[in-house]
């Protein structure tokens, strides 16, 4: 398997492993948002939100374009339906299961 697939999977997993980024992704899947509009939705700085969008963009989950002075972001449907992204999402599920097994074993 090419290393690039693994790297892409890592990037997608990293991007989806954060609640704020999942929330941003949800919003930009339904419609295009400017980064400044997104920033107003969260209790964090514009720079912090911009950084989250950049992580999503590096993972290929979000595409950005310029519109005047604004940066517009929207979800990339093709990437999200790709096998790479789905395996990364499945990894999130499996990590949850492993964490619950670990917790159960620690109880006794």
């Amino acid at each position: 398997m090419p290393a690039t697939d693994e790297d892409h999977a890592d990037a997608v997993f990293h991007a989806l492993g954060n609640r704020t980024r999942r929330d941003i992704l949800r919003r930009v899947l339904s419609e295009e948002f400017s980064v400044s509009t997104l920033a107003a939705e969260y209790d964090m700085s514009f720079a912090a939100v911009q950084k989250h969008v950049a992580v999503l963009e590096r993972a290929g989950l979000v595409v950005k374009r310029r519109h005047g002075r604004e940066q517009m972001a929207r979800g990339d449907v093709d990437t999200i339906r790709s096998v790479v992204a789905m395996l990364a999402e499945l990894e999130v599920i499996w990590r949850g299961r492993v964490a619950r097994v670990d917790q159960l074993l620690l109880e006794q």
Partner: protein
Amino acid sequence: MPVTNVIHDIDQLTLTITAEFAAPVERVWQVYADPRQLERVWGPPTYPATVVDHDLSPGGRMTYFMTSPEGEKFAGMWRVTAVDEPTSFSFEDVFTDTDFNVNEEMPMSVNTFTFEDLGGRTRSTYVGTYASPEALQQVLDMGVVEGATSAINQIDDLLAA
């Protein structure tokens, strides 16, 4: 974090997760052999799992459903293909209706769980192979992961619109 390794095999549609637990192999085996323990680990707290039938022997089956926050039930079944207690078992994970009738047209995954003794600790390896990209999509559409899956569902709604 008990997860020690993750391998994504894009070509084979296989996810391999390796984890180490601070418990002996026999104890880890019990998590899967005991339906009450299994249901605590299979579904996330937001989609709790309920195990109905449980027979962890070759040819046996484990039926379960997971309940969404809205009360919607997603049902599935393990068809157990091989058991080597306490070191490994294999099963097909298939989707069913809520009466546990298997829809043979629905995609499935083939899974092998292996438990290896590390001197009182256990290395668990979970290997899941999905029949097709659609099978992967189906698993995620079951709503078993909070957040990211809602995003996937939204895409489906968008495409259907």
